[in-house]
Amino acid sequence: MTLALIPPAEMVHWWFATGFLIIGLLLLTEAIVGHEAWVRRPWRKYLWPSFLFGMGVLMWPVMTFFTNSAIHMVAHGTWAQFLMLAGAAELGVARGKLHSQYWRLTSAAAMLVSGTALLVHEQQHWFFARAAFLHHALGWTMVAGAVFPLMQALRPRSLTAATGFASVFVVTAIMLYCDRDSAAIFGHFSQYAGVLHR
């Protein structure tokens, strides 16, 4: 068994996919049972904001060790900051230190920034390889998905907004799990994309 110090990038995507899946399930459950039932146990209200904040913290090592290009570092660093900002704001709301419903706008900002960073730092076209396709798809999903936390900031009790917000996390998790460093997408694979994987 060999121990390479830095894992392949695809694995980091799968680990973050797991984080997104957990947050998605928690948000979906909150949407189903309602906010009052969800916060009946004090520890539960901190669950998903903690995961969001934690994922922001874990983005820093990603920024530090995956230095493919300057734009990658800038993108990962920006994600780290905005995930931490959104997580911290939600934690503040859960704790009762922050009161305004408009703090949910930090989640909208995080998604908008994440989406833009994904689109900007993907240098290849959609059908270059699976990773390129997924970066474009993830980017547009995040940009479009930002409408849900925006809706929640304006209408906190909207079931559509809550379900939509949760769905964005679940869809993001599925796409991140599909990621491979060099694999085909719908039969397309550029000759410049490396050695083909399944």
Partner: protein
């Protein structure tokens, strides 16, 4: 039975049904997630390097995405869901 009492009983039944539906959905979320992971593992066994571990490095043995999905489902079912169901009921 007066109309008021009948109406209240009807409302209670409706509320109980709504709660039951929510309980069922919450209890189903975890197992459904785990089943999705199992189906994925069967459909793409090469994503589970534990099934063919020889020559695999540490990270490849550590990274088992279908198992992660199964684990998330199980954690949700046994850590998060019971408390919610209890609170709803």
């Amino acid at each position: 039975m007066s109309a008021d009492v009948a109406h209240e009983l009807q409302q209670r039944t409706k509320t109980r049904d709504r709660v039951r539906t929510r309980v069922r959905i919450v209890l189903a979320l975890g197992p459904l997630t785990s089943v999705a992971g199992v189906v994925w593992g069967i459909a793409q066994p090469w994503r589970l390097t534990l099934l063919h571990p020889l020559g695999q490095g540490f990270w490849w043995l550590f990274s088992e995405p279908p198992l992660y999905v199964v684990l998330v489902g199980l954690l949700f079912r046994f850590v998060v869901a019971p408390g919610i169901v209890e609170d709803l009921e």
